[in-house]
């Protein structure tokens, strides 16, 4: 039992820190917000150390196969921790200005991180369901936590209603799978799919379909993406970045564990649906982003499009190309996470600069001349936008290179072509942001608040990471390859 608790330490440290921070804030409501902030960061650090401690394990199923600790789950734990860390840094100005209640905010963010890690750990539908709920419920609350703003509450309501709706589908799918398979463990699902391959009952497919709907909603795959723009626009900007990167990434983790590992033998039966998902998500995301005037909505649609690119590798996954395709997905999640967090950090600062009377100002026209006024931030934004488009030598380029490469490896040339075409389309709206940054004259100059240090750190880390991963991708790719190889 003690050994099991040791193996759970990354999660436990997060939960204990969350509780401690909550209590601390409740006991000293007038206390310094810095203390809460520092403690949360220490908790994240402790959890990171614990995850590295577990890295030497070779993969271990725990708690009657409810969860599994292997390199794959630890990879996603580390990714969630890093994303949460950067989110804390970018949200620090919000906490300091008391726009959000610091103690509760940290509690939710840390709990959400625990839920996210558990998503990648779970190998049982029940655990998956509960960790998904921990993650989603905290995400609903975090969306609406800036109660002074109407859009924040509206976004929370929309996210909540549609999220709960999709939970219903997910649950019904789980129930139907349980009815046909007789167990909720992924290994049992895999066994069932393997052994009775040619006489699978229709109800099994219905269950798989409903489960797909539930997860596709969290990933925001077209046609289950309606909630994204409003929710991303309404949420506090650091939380938007958090949802666009973290929640999306671990939903992909669960997707991989169920559909690309446990049910890989059935994949040929529904390749058509996956192809529709990939093409639809990319195209709709990019086309809708073209006409947006609000930068947060534009980035929301762009995040939909990027999920579509990732789906290219999902389509390309077969028994032969499993390692390459899955590694491409994991690699892209890192690259995409870095550039998205960086871009949203710049938006956070810019909108705080132009905001008046508590209303966010996120129109692209508001950003006129931003790059001329802040040369360094402008430079960082250039890096992120080029990386979004996929221009070398950025992380985005290498990410897309691996994604499209996996498609070509599986002889899906046309799919890779669609991906490249979409990247070309997307360059229009990414460059439009840069045009606003540099070509337009700045509006009236007012007294400027200096860039908060924590935001600067986020932007610096993201920009540096984007460049470094773009320049030296092979090392990281090799580690990821080692992570996914033992999965099959």
């Amino acid at each position: 039992m003690t050994a099991q608790i040791f193996n759970l330490s990354p999660i436990l440290i997060l939960i204990v820190t969350a509780l401690f921070v909550l209590l601390l804030d409740a006991l000293f409501p007038r206390g310094d917000k810095k203390l809460v902030f520092t403690l949360s960061l220490l908790g994240l650090l402790g959890s990171t150390v614990a995850s590295f401690q577990l890295w030497q394990l070779d993969g271990l199923s725990l708690l009657s196969e409810a969860i599994r600790v292997d390199h794959f789950s630890l990879f996603f734990t580390l990714l969630s921790l890093a994303i949460t860390f950067l989110t804390f840094l970018s949200a620090f100005p919000l906490m300091k200005e008391n726009k959000v209640p610091a103690g509760e905010f940290s509690f939710f963010l840390l709990s959400c991180c625990a839920g996210m890690s558990l998503m990648a750990w779970s190998t049982d539908l029940i655990t998956l369901f509960l960790s998904l709920e921990i993650m989603s419920v905290t995400a609903y609350i975090l969306t609406g936590i800036e109660r002074e703003r109407l859009t924040s509450s509206e976004g929370a309501l929309k996210y909540f209603l549609l999220g709960a709706f999709s939970t219903g589908f997910l649950l019904y799918g789980i129930a139907l799978l349980y009815a046909t398979v007789g167990s909720t463990q992924f290994s049992a699902l895999a066994n069932y799919a393997m052994t009775s391959k040619h006489s699978l009952p229709p109800l099994f497919y219905t269950g798989v379909g409903l489960l797909t709907v539930g997860l596709a909603f969290k990933i925001a795959v077209v046609p289950f993406h309606m909630w994204v723009p409003d929710v991303y626009e309404g949420a506090p900007t650091p939380i938007t970045a958090f949802m666009a990167t973290g929640i999306k990434a671990v939903s992909f983790a669960a997707f991989i564990r169920i559909f690309l590992i446990a049910l890989l033998s059935l994949k040929a039966n529904w390749t058509m649906i996956l192809l529709c998902f990939a093409v639809g998500t990319m195209t709709v995301g990019n086309l809708a982003a073209l006409v947006q005037t609000n930068i947060k909505r534009m980035l929301a649609y762009s995040s939909i499009a990027h999920a579509g690119y990732i789906f290219i590798a999902v389509c390309a996954t077969t028994h032969q190309s499993f390692e390459l395709s899955t590694s491409a997905i994991l690699f892209y999640l890192i690259a995409y996470g870095l550039m998205t967090l960086g871009a949203f950090a710049i938006v956070t600062y810019a909108s705080s600069l132009y905001s008046k009377h508590g209303q966010e100002k996120n129109m692209i026209s508001d950003y006129a001349g931003f790059g001329l006024r802040f040369p360094l931030l402008g430079g960082a934004m250039i890096i992120f936008m080029l990386s979004f488009i996929g221009v070398p030598p950025t992380a985005g380029f290498m990410g897309k290179f691996y994604l499209f490469g996996s498609a070509i490896k599986s002889h899906l040339f046309w799919l890779a072509m669609v991906g490249i075409l979409n990247s070309v389309i997307s360059s229009y709206y990414y460059l439009r942001i840069l045009v606003a940054f540099y070509m337009n004259k700045p509006k009236e100059t007012e007294a400027l608040t200096p860039l908060p240090l924590s935001l600067g750190v986020v932007i610096f880390i993201a920009a540096l990471g984007t460049i470094l991963i773009g320049l030296f991708p092979s090392k990281i790719f090799a580690i990821i390859l080692k992570t996914v190889t033992p999965l099959l």
Partner: protein, 100 residues
């Protein structure tokens, strides 16, 4: 003779009614109650599965679903309250759930 599939079909019917309550109605509270109905239909099928496969796991799952339903009810209603605090002071258009 009433059997396994009768219960599953009843659950499917209830689930569908819930789904269409969500899609057809505009009233927030009723949409929310329809979601509760969907979760309940899942519970019914889980109890039926537990009985007909003679394993208690289904019943355990029902506990978790009920807990989640309670959690969602608490959080969802709190969100509705926080939104209505805004609405009382400002007049804006009604929320359109399906607007892209």
């Amino acid at each position: 003779m009433v059997g396994y599939s009768h219960y599953l079909i009843l659950s499917a019917v209830l689930f569908t009614i819930g789904v269409f309550g969500v899609l057809l109605r505009r009233n927030l509270i009723i949409i929310f109650m329809s979601i509760e109905l969907m979760l309940n239909s899942v519970n019914l099928s889980l109890v039926a599965i537990s009985k007909f496969t003679q394993s208690a796991d289904g019943q355990i799952f029902v506990f978790f679903v009920i807990t989640v339903a309670a959690v969602e009810a608490a959080v969802g209603l709190a969100i509705i309250i926080s939104l209505f605090r805004h609405k009382q002071t400002t007049a804006i258009d009604e929320i359109n759930l399906m607007k892209g």
